[in-house]
Symmetry: C2
Subunit: 157 residues, 2 copies
């Protein structure tokens, strides 16, 4: 079973890189997990937002294979408690798919074309997190989900 | 106007300390912001959870003055979008109070006594974040709230 995270742009800032690396390293014990950082579109400050999202869309699409269950991390998605998210992951990997791809858009979110291509949408919060912070919060929640599945001590309710 | 965050235990891990420091430093431009870390209760591994929460409660209470509007950061609180949270903060500081205190509990959450003492409860997410991660996510959201109030570029909708 494989889980991938696709994000736009390099992770910025040493503390974010270190935080993500911590949970990524812990995740190794539970699943094959890979984070793909698509390089930022060049000269993006000079590109209109809609055009930028379209260019990012073309890059993201390269990684969306047919056999994967694709989930957008999007503010307008469904919210889960950590327990329910863990249950959701467990059901997906037990019965429905061998590969899950999570997608985080760029600074301006995910294009509608990608959103329609996704099989589901999940929100980490009603609040807006930067696309950089989403990586950290998501990686911790994915790690937390596996500790819940395995009934380990990390998660307190 | 003053905003304080009260949390139990030292922030653990260099990357969390650095991440929180980044948003704390940015917050300086907008408000007086202070984060009070109450030292962990000694030998807490050997204390029953209810007793531990009671001991933490006594420590937290020392910081809850009568003139402040006190908000628990609690999974069962009300969720806000970042825009609505910003609006909430703006109303509070403009008309209702000169001091807001946010409270984050320890690993096992906030005691019921403290929850009842609070004037409001806010949830950052339906998901459970560790009491350490809550500090980082909260500090970023508070910074984001002020950039929204000031109509600055940080927040994209």
């Amino acid at each position: 079973m494989k889980i991938k995270l696709i994000a736009i742009g390099k992770t910025q800032g040493a503390w974010l890189i270190d935080g993500i690396a911590e949970y990524k390293s812990r995740l190794k014990h539970y699943t094959s997990y890979e984070c793909i950082e698509i390089p930022d579109i060049k000269n993006r400050a000079n590109i209109p937002i809609d055009k930028l999202k379209e260019l990012e869309e073309l890059e993201i699409e390269k990684y969306l294979d047919k056999d994967s269950f694709i989930i957008a991390l999007d503010e307008n998605g469904k919210e889960y408690s950590s327990e329910n998210f863990s249950n959701y992951i467990l059901k997906k990997i037990s019965f429905e798919t061998k590969s899950i791809i999570f997608v985080i858009g760029g600074a301006f979110g995910i294009s509608n074309v990608i959103l329609e291509r996704c099989n589901d949408k999940i929100a980490l919060s009603k609040m807006t997190f930067s696309h950089q912070m989403v990586r950290l919060v998501f990686t911790e929640q994915l790690y937390r989900a596996f500790t819940i599945i395995k009934n380990e001590k990390y998660h307190h309710k």
